[in-house]
């Protein structure tokens, strides 16, 4: 079998939750077009789904399952790919809430950091003998039309999708083997303290962060914190 022909540069990207480096190629003009087409559709689901598709196309490691990546991993990979493929600087404009003027900024994507909030355990104890192991929201949520269309019970539905396993004494039950209805019944019966701990885990997932500091026309110091892809590219 002949060796593959390498006609594009290869970059290594450290995946935050896996603490491991994987190889990627830059995305191409035809893939940039997919994002513009999704933007025309104007639904966030379409754009996020295209981002997942592009990250999948550009991954050179067959062991990397994009669907299993945490959403913050996927966003970080896309940000790095954008820096390699187009430019590491992005122009953004924001309206100041105080003087209502629009300010332009240039964000250097190389300076975007991952922030890991205070460590919260993914093991949520229900009693001394039972509990749940949680996982971060995965990129497969982008294809979950039912979830993306939710207008209420967002946190409850997210919890259902982020339970990895449930244990009771020596028995371990994998959430993927059970129907959503069964998991919903299980979560509805959790006590308030356990439910709050589960929420705390999901509200403290790592995220990207870039701080913009400026003075507005009233000479007041202002700060904008960019934390999601939407903030960087006004998708």
């Amino acid at each position: 079998m002949s060796l593959p022909k390498i006609d594009q540069p290869i970059y290594s990207i450290d995946i935050p939750s896996l603490k491991k480096s994987f190889q990627f190629r830059p995305f191409l003009v035809k893939e940039e077009k997919l994002i513009l087409m999704a933007k025309e559709g104007q639904t966030e689901t379409e754009i996020l789904s295209v981002i997942k598709q592009i990250v999948n196309n550009c991954s050179l490691d067959p062991k990397l399952d994009v669907n299993k990546l945490a959403i913050f991993d996927l966003e970080y990979i896309f940000l790095r790919l954008r820096a390699f493929s187009v430019d590491s600087s992005v122009k953004v404009s924001y309206k100041d809430a105080e003087d209502e003027k629009i300010y332009d900024f240039v964000v250097n994507l190389d300076d975007v950091k991952m922030v890991y909030p205070e460590k919260t355990s993914n093991k949520i104890e229900i009693t001394d003998r039972s509990g749940m192991i949680m996982k971060y929201p995965s990129a497969s949520l982008y294809d979950d039309k039912e979830f993306m269309a939710l207008e209420k019970d967002y946190m409850f539905e997210l919890i259902l999708r982020c339970i990895d396993t449930i244990y009771y004494e020596d028995e371990v039950y994998s959430a993927k083997d059970y129907k959503k209805k069964d998991l919903a019944e299980f979560v509805e019966n959790l006590n308030i303290k356990t439910f709050q701990e589960t929420q705390k885990f999901l509200l403290s997932v790592p995220h990207m962060e870039y701080k913009i500091k400026y003075k507005n026309e009233k000479d007041h110091d202002r700060e904008i914190i960019l934390t999601s892809l939407n903030d960087f590219f006004t998708l």
Partner: protein, 55 residues
Amino acid sequence: MSYNSLGNYYKTMFSLVQHHKYSLSDIENLMPFERDIYVDMLLAYLKELEEAKSK
């Protein structure tokens, strides 16, 4: 992205193919930063031609 709309994307592609004889598949297989470099170089070249003509 370097293009802010799909309309701008198609206009640029059409100009490159129709007026400058680039191949669409070749452009689509470039990395976006390469495409931007070629477009910038083409614009600089056209400006030089324009200046030479006006002399």
